[in-house]
């Protein structure tokens, strides 16, 4: 009998289900998400509007990135949300059918349907009462899917626009669930990432609205304001959502990337203001330690490391730095001894980096924050795509977001035309007997 046979096979042949392990994650995405492991067809770019450029509004831009398709290297679609909200980060729901995208200035959240037509996302919901529902949380940043809901880490609060902030949960259909404020002594927030195998969640820390909405040149001269950046990471019991440990990581630790190997019990982050690469390692007693691993460029020149991306085999860590427009690639096969294997300037400024699951394609964008971009003088805005062979970046194509009148490109996520093929459309469901 088929069922009995299947179960018996599973019991005696562990390798029978090996593909599940191989598909356990996509680089830098939540481990709870449906992943895209083949050639991506589209990259969705959450883009800040620029006054006087095009319609001037924030928008979701879809770029064709599959060389086998006629739309390769072209803008496939663009969907304005109306107004400028300081478009920043975005994340898929666990089933990848929707993309939630946030505005750091207005704290609005835009929910795009990707499943109906992956080439042409549709805006299906706008959450305008995030601040009220959450009890005064401001600046939704990371959108991190967990089963059936969205976990959102924020940057600020409505009481003083400072760095004290919280994690906020919504159901996938957009209903508010709860707010969890960061603990005393580590109140600042930025990124959130979970390691299910360890039941541990890490959060990092940046700055409040008063700082991130202020022009960078002005901010750097304000010694008091420069004290109001995060210097901590928090280790949480994920299931209980309870803080367990506060780690000292000076200089605004930003993006967090857990290693994905089942015995790889560590994560990386970069500290923006001190230009340091850090590791967070699980110790034998189950607690964690934060270890300074390497300089990122010359810290004296404040290169401002921003986004990082760890390959799915935990081998290469890409680190972008904003001020010098440079990507540095570290070989982190020995995570406590990272080796710099590539340093390459990609533009006048550089922020986000995303790599395909197989690590063969790497995508970069230029914008950090509307009031921080262009501090070096040249406010170029681009998406640049490269091949990666473990040694060198090979240019594939670039999209000039100014020439295309799109705006400031920020976070990137991948889509595939056939990812939802076979999904019943609502009219089909209704028409069936």
């Amino acid at each position: 009998m088929r069922v009995t046979t299947r179960l018996a096979l599973a019991l005696v042949l562990p390798g029978f289900l090996a593909p599940l392990a191989a598909r356990a994650d996509e680089p830098c995405q939540s481990p709870y998400i449906q992943k895209l492991v083949g050639q991506e067809d589209f990259v969705y770019v959450w883009t800040l509007g620029i006054e006087g450029l095009g319609d001037g509004s924030d928008k979701l831009v879809t770029i064709g990135v599959n060389p086998a398709r006629p739309d390769y290297g072209k803008v496939v679609s663009q969907l304005s949300v109306g107004g400028r909200h300081e478009a920043h980060h975005a994340g898929f729901t666990d089933d990848r059918r929707q993309l939630w995208a946030g505005g750091l200035d207005t704290s609005q959240i835009f929910v795009f349907d990707l499943a109906s037509d992956p080439a042409n996302p549709k805006l299906v919901n706008t959450i305008r009462d995030f601040v009220e529902k959450s009890g005064g949380v401001v600046g939704p940043h990371t959108f991190y899917p967990i089963p059936g809901r969205m976990l959102i880490s924020a940057l600020s609060n409505a009481a003083d626009n400072g760095g004290k902030t919280a994690l906020v949960e919504y159901t996938n259909d957009g209903s508010y669930v709860r707010t969890i404020w960061l603990p005393a002594g580590a109140e600042y927030g930025y990124d959130v990432r979970v390691n299910p195998h360890l039941n541990r969640m890490l959060t990092s820390s940046f700055a409040g609205r008063d700082n991130y909405m202020r022009p960078l040149g002005e901010l750097l001269k304000d010694a008091e304001a420069m004290k109001r950046f995060g210097n901590t990471m928090v280790v949480w019991d994920f299931h209980a959502r309870k803080p367990l440990q506060t780690l000292a990581v000076p200089g605004a630790p930003l993006e967090i990337r857990w290693a994905q190997g089942p015995r790889h019990e560590y994560a990386f982050t970069s500290a923006a203001l001190t230009s340091k690469l850090w590791g967070v390692f699980r110790k034998d007693d189950g607690t964690f330690e934060a270890v300074e691993l390497a300089d990122i460029g010359d810290p004296a020149k404040v290169p401002l490391p921003v986004d990082i991306s760890l390959s799915s085999d935990d081998r290469f860590l890409f680190v972008d730095s904003f001020m010098d427009g440079t990507v540095r690639v570290f070989d982190v096969a020995e995570p406590r001894k990272p080796k710099l294997v590539l340093e390459q300037k990609l533009g006048s400024q550089l922020n986000m980096v995303s790599q395909s699951w197989d690590g063969k394609r790497v995508y970069f964008t230029s914008s950090l924050l509307a009031n921080w971009d262009g501090i070096g003088g040249d406010d170029e805005q681009f998406l640049r795509v490269f091949g990666w062979d473990g040694k060198a970046l090979m240019p594939k194509f670039s999209v000039d977001f100014r020439a295309e009148k799109l705006g400031r490109p920020h976070i990137m996520h991948f889509g595939q035309a056939g990812f939802f093929a076979g999904a019943p459309k609502s009219e089909e469901v209704a028409a069936r007997p």
């Binding site: 069922v3 179960l7 599973a10 289900l17 599940l20 356990a24 299931h239 093929a421 076979g422 999904a423």
Partner: protein, 199 residues
């Protein structure tokens, strides 16, 4: 280590390296309420999907029998929990396990009955199918369970893939937690049940 936990490990999950938080030490806020649905039991007769008395709870897993990887993980986790509950009579009478196929074109009540026999429940563990995709789709939408279907050889729609989700539902039909392959740990399921049942 139980055979079911061994199976979970064989399914690709390394041995969990944590102790779950104790029951009652954390919150499980409601994630919405599901409606009263009627589906086909494994005996072929219509039956309510959830028939919970006050003080009871259920775990609901959506599966399909052609599922190559994730669904066996759900079966294994549910079976581990079934065995665990059987050893805890104070809990066994208050918990219902529910396995629902959302591939009615292929997973008939007879096939679900075969699955039930293969898994050999020791406690309350019910198996459901549906008359047609249109009968199961409102249930999927209500729970927030995605499913991709493709046309089979005969033109009928068959499930091709889904995101594995198991739902903890309290006696008021409120979803209290959702589990996927990354967190389908029988110890977590048990402690969450204990937390909800202690309210």
């Amino acid at each position: 280590m139980s055979a079911a936990l061994l199976l979970l490990l064989a399914l690709g999950a390394a041995a969990p390296r944590f102790e779950p938080p104790p029951p009652g030490s954390y919150e499980l806020p409601p994630l919405g309420r599901v409606g009263a649905h009627t589906l086909l039991g494994s005996d072929g007769a219509p039956a309510p999907l959830l028939a919970l008395a006050p003080g009871e709870a259920a775990l609901v897993a959506f599966v399909y029998l052609h599922c190559p990887d994730a669904c066996p993980m759900a079966h294994a986790a549910m079976q581990a929990l079934d065995r665990d509950l059987a050893a805890r009579p104070e809990l066994a009478g208050r918990v219902t396990l529910v396995t629902v196929s959302f591939d009615p074109a292929r997973d008939t009540p007879e096939r679900m009955e075969a699955l039930r026999r293969a898994l050999a429940p020791r406690g309350r563990w019910r198996f459901f199918s549906a008359e047609s995709p249109s009968a199961i789709d409102p249930v999927l939408a209500d729970f927030g369970q995605d499913a991709l279907r493709v046309a089979g050889a005969g033109g009928e729609l068959q499930v091709a893939s889904h995101t594995l989700k198991v739902f903890l539902v309290d006696s008021e039909r409120r979803i209290r937690n959702v589990y996927s392959s990354g967190f389908l740990d029988p110890r977590i399921l048990r402690n969450d049940l204990l937390s909800v049942l202690a309210e």
